[in-house]
């Protein structure tokens, strides 16, 4: 039995990682200066925003093994919270942004609490329903949300007296938020809290037998994911200047979910890669946009078959299975012989 490194990324020497990280950061910071085309900036803004959305969904689905399908609902809450606070109360973006996250987290707690004792499938159904309910509330509560017209003229953030209006400016806001998300999540995942989340994903009963308060950790995990979806929404609202309920449909939820699955659940990098790929696909497939979801579906089916762990995932796929000690990747059922000899 060889001790094989679990994670490919852990086997890369530190200096390569640091150098790679610095180079990537420099490239991302310099991109708008060398290539400030507004179309490109717009695509990049979307990519960064979806990195937060997919990344935060991955914290829920990939790390704690809960199943949230309605992530668009939290995205919606964040966006509306910011838009309402900014347009009705004239609150600064920098205050409305975290409040969007907090609001999404609180509602996340409300959604998750009744299902904490139940199996994952119930949560999936509840989140699906929740996402639709939020959209319908946004559509029908005309006094607050503008109803079918939505909210227009969401004011631009002001940064030390400087009005953030162009996508090249938003590029830096989204980049900073995505970087912050990545940094914070990395730290939380690689700690006792992250391990508790993962233990729930792997085996909830075993986790409980080790004293992990699974209900508490499932709830905080769900809130953490919802919080960042809210942040993404709150940043999106002034960027797009206009929001309406149909931007946060179930389709949007599936869109985020597909990024997580394509990139790889349960890895930090996976959803980032997924976001890049899906957003590029969206751009390329614009001429046949009505078939876009079909392409995603085919891609997801292919992924399930070839690399169920996603592009970046490190666990075993049906193709990689043979390489590991000659065993099939998934559990060795054969070895679970009837216990004891009587």
């Amino acid at each position: 039995m060889t001790s094989k490194p679990v994670n490919f990324f852990k086997s890369i020497p530190l200096w390569v990682k640091v150098l790679g990280g610095v180079a990537l950061a420099a490239l991302l910071i310099a991109l708008p200066i060398v290539y400030p085309k507004s179309y490109v900036m717009g695509v990049m803004c979307r990519i960064f925003m979806y990195m937060i959305l997919a990344g935060s969904l991955n914290v829920i689905n990939g790390y704690s093994g809960q199943f949230n399908i309605g992530h668009a609902g939290f995205y919606c809450i964040g966006a509306y919270t910011e838009a309402i606070l900014a347009t009705k109360l004239g609150l600064s973006f920098w205050i409305a942004l975290p409040l969007g996250g907090v609001m999404a987290a609180l509602i996340g707690l409300l959604v998750a609490t009744p299902t904490l004792k139940l199996r994952g499938t119930y949560l999936a159904i509840v989140t699906l329903g929740f996402s639709e309910i939020i959209r319908l509330v946004a559509l029908n509560w005309e006094g607050l949300t503008g109803g079918p017209i939505g909210i227009k003229g969401i004011p631009a953030p002001v940064f030390f007296g400087f009005k953030v209006t162009r996508s090249i400016h938003y590029y830096y806001i989204f980049l900073a938020l995505a970087a912050l998300f990545f940094f914070v999540t990395y730290r939380v995942i690689n700690s006792r809290v992250g391990r508790a989340w993962m233990s729930i994903r792997e085996d909830e009963l075993a986790a409980r037998s080790l004293g992990v308060e699974t209900r508490f950790y499932k709830a905080t995990n769900f809130m953490y994911g919802a919080f960042w979806a809210g942040i993404a929404g709150a940043a999106f609202a002034p960027y797009f200047k206009f929001i309406a309920s149909d931007m946060f449909s179930l389709d949007e939820g599936f869109n985020i979910l597909s990024m997580v699955i394509i990139g790889g659940q349960g890895t930090l990098l996976g959803p980032m890669v997924g976001s890049v790929i899906v957003n590029f696909l969206t751009e390329f497939l614009r001429p046949i946009s009505q078939y876009r979801l079909v392409v995603y579906a085919l891609l997801i089916i292919a992924m399930m078959w070839l690399r169920p762990q996603g592009l970046v995932g490190a666990s075993n796929s049906i193709l990689a299975a043979k390489k590991i000690g000659g065993k099939t990747g998934r559990g060795k059922r054969g070895a679970l012989a009837p216990a004891g000899g009587k």
Partner: protein, 263 residues
Amino acid sequence: MATILEARDVCQYFGGLKAVEKVNMKIEEGDIFGVIGPNGAGKTTFFNICSGIFKPTAGEIIFRGEPITGLLTEKIARKGMARTFQNIQLFKYMTVLENVKIGFHIRTRTTMLSALLRSKRYSEDEKFATEKAAEILERVGLSEFRDTLASNLPYGIQRKVEIARALALDPKILLLDEPAAGMNPSETQELSDFVKKLNAGGLTIVVIEHDMKFVMNTCNRILVLNFGQKICEGTPDVVRDDRNVNEAYFGKGLVVGEGYNNA
């Protein structure tokens, strides 16, 4: 010696099935306590009641002088009870070291905020968990598998990892559900020695096992269940010669004690 774990008239019914029926049991501190019985006798169910996975239909569990009946599993773990599972429940896609580190959950206190700020608590906890986990792996003889995925290990080693993980809780009592299942005779012997060593270090151990040789050689007291009921309790010698036990295992008419030689 004081009683550490006690069951009073514990019953567990699944619909009409009486999986555990009016079982009384007293485990003294420092015991290696065996629980045996034919398949389906209710042994695992009894463990599940003790560790809080099931709330018993009736009866009471008292752990270190305190009733714990119906308490959440994670609360009971915190009070000093650790266990392993009959059908190995490791964190499959995590390494052996990570598995054991999770066992330190209740002995560390890092919160999301201290993880985020990489506070002193965080670095102390990480150091503590990593060092102690490595220490336990050394003690159990698993150091070489430290970075191997749990699911890639052979069955016998996985059982050891599960014990190592349970030891990370620094429990007062350790419940082992068929730890020798899937082990060959020499591994079983090794396990017996290891259990005795742990016990000598002050840990009370309760063990369900079908391997009679293991039970008779390792345990100082034994509880025998059959169809959910206690049919005998006592030292290995008493159990070995008990007529009810022999009937339960080998049917009526067999010469008392004979069957064990073939078991």
